[in-house]
Amino acid sequence: MKSRRGVFPAVVFCVLFPVLAVAEPNQPTVKMLHIFVQANENGVSFENIWVFEREDVNLPWEVGIDLPEGATALNVDEPNETESLKAGRIVRKKMPADSAMGAVGFSFIMPKNGDLCQTLIKSRYSIGSIVVFLSTPAVRLESNVLKMDESLTRRSDYAGIYTAEGLAGGAKIEINLKNLAAAGGRRIEIICLAGFAIIVIIALIILYYSRRTAVRGETTNEARSK
């Protein structure tokens, strides 16, 4: 009996798991995800547009998107229809029951850690395609799944356009931004400013000592003439 009790749930699980995994017939998928990334001095702004689709219509449906750790300043596009849950960590939107497609738009800011900004986006749903539009030049984007599309980048005004396709549900998308050129540029600027300051100080010292020598010389000449 003891062993039967153990086997039964296992059999049930084995029978039901494939059904659960394959089923969820009305599970939405992300048709496309566009992320517009712009870095400034305060942090990195991520503007997201998630476009969902599902197979069946006429059933109520809603989607939920987990925000990455550390995201602040959440701003949703349609506040009447979109809500944030769990202290702003999840963005949820109820979609129209009669539609097969719907979009969620929101933005958040990720803080910078020195010249590095690390973002980890976890998707509950499978994603058809992701396009990340990077506006800030002199910023390097590194990712585990995204690759830069040179052809698209060349034809656009963006500093870089990165794409990825066909990600499974639960995938983790790392977006790491490194502000390398700014560090180098600032170093040059600091050297220039410091150099300029040193030149001015040296000139002032020369001026001071030359004037003092001149005054002394005049005093000595005056004493001699007396």
């Binding site: 390097r140 180098g184 000139a203």
Partner: protein, 633 residues
Amino acid sequence: MSITGCLGAGLSAAVFLLCSFAAVFALLSSALRGQTARIAFLLARAAIFAAALLSIAALLLLIRAFLTDDFSIALVGQYSSISLPAYYKLSAVWAGSAGSLFLWSAVILVLFAFWLAKSKAGDMRFNAVALSVGSAVCVGFSALLVFIEKPFDVSMPAISDGIGLNPLLQNFWMVIHPPLLFVGYAAFLIPFVIISAITLTGVAAGPAVYGQLRRWLMFAVCFLSLGIVTGARWSYIELGWGGYWSWDPVENASILPWFVAVAALHSLIGIKVANKFRLWTVVLAPVPFILCLVATFITRSGILQSVHSFGHSVVGAALLAFIAACLFVWLVSIIRFKKGFFAGPADISGFHLNEQEILLWVNIILVFTAAVVGVATFWPVIWQAAAGSTIAPARQFYDRLISILGILLALLIGLGSLAALPKYGNFIIKLLGCCAVGLICFGFAFNPGGRHFIISFACGIAAFSFVAVLIKLWFNLRSGSNISGGIAHTGLLILVVAAGFSSSEQIVQASLAAGDKIIIGGYTVTYNSLKDESMAGVSKLGPEVTVKKGSFAKKLWPYNSLYPDGSSASEVAVYTGFLKDIYISFDGVGQNEQVIITAKEKPMMLWLWVGATLTIAGSALGFLRAKEVVNEK
């Protein structure tokens, strides 16, 4: 960071530091006396020479990056591509805001260093102040390149091919137009420096300084004219609208220094022939350089809309501060003006007309033109600030203004030439001869109901002045005097007439099937067939046409170019005749595979370029002979 990026940024920083050193030590030299002052001056001078050399090295490094497709440099990726021909890769160096500013900065440093090397040792304080003013300007430019517009910024992420050069800029004239313009702009620094040094030190300028002022103004006017004319030629054959000057804010900004510099040159002549016009010279000679900065501000600040501008850029605020500093130096120069600044010979005997008054009127007209064009250019900004809406003067406003002032200047050229004639000979006969030729030309050009009266009038006045200039040229050739002014004035008169005639163009737009003809300006234009060609990834498609008149026939091919990146550009075809151009542009393919073309008859276009070339040749000759002119009595 790439090696080129690192090295370039390092060179830019070194140039900035050397210029700063030169400015501070030159200032120190002017505040000190004796051996210390001399050592400080020599060190500052050496720093400028070193900065000029490093600036050339940095420019060569950037050119190398473009020619070798080093896309680790962001500027290369933005304006060049692997498939771009080598000569366009070279012009892509100055296609962007940072690249062109870099070129201008390098040219300024080189010309300033050249002037320092060539200028004879004179008064120590004069030299020190001149060096400190010039170096301060160089500090400003190098600071812009270190802190704001960085040409050696690296490309993040690294790319394997660039965006490429705008198709409109892929034209021979655009390869040479910016460098010529920047040489002109940069050369105006020297008169600015000389006048500032004269007025700030109170040292009277001798013939050597007078000669330098004249030479550098001539040099700058010559190159600025070349820059303007090459830009106009590009506009004529590349933009496809059939014009060469559209009174665009950036075009206006480039011609403002020209007007003022020409007025300053005439003031210098006034000092020589009438021993007057000293204040005019002190006021006008530094202004072209300030106006060049204003032109740069208009191009880069985004304050005025223009097809030539680089769009909005943060460099605008820095340039505004730069302009304010230069204006301050200029105002101080005027306040400190004294009559004894220029020593010039007084030799006003032997002239029938009062040459002094003619020079005064020339100056008034040129300065007035510059002022009106300047205010009209900034009118949208002024009106926006005053009334909250944008309103810009129409092209007709500029055309009318310039046609009236151009005729007045043409008349003054004739009167000035007659005034400069020596007393011997039959002056009255010469005057009457000029008037007779003028009247005859007016009669020939006058066409009631057809041509505009003002064009006929301009033709008469130009003919009058043309004969006067020829007489003066003949006298000058006989006496071995300078003929550069005569050549430049002849060119200007031809330019005035040609510009007037070219404004009355005839346009025909037609949809043609193969074999169809249109007639324009006495020429028959026949559409033969649609021709296509592909070269280096660029597809060209357009109608081949034959322009025919009598036994003369010439095939032309206006086409549209489609570039690999999807961008396109229209290329016109021009037949240049002795008296008129036939200008054909391809507008597309219509129904039933008929081609749509626009044909224009543009009168006197050849003479417009001839006039401009003569004007430039005259100023070039004036520059080459400036030394002899100073010594002439």
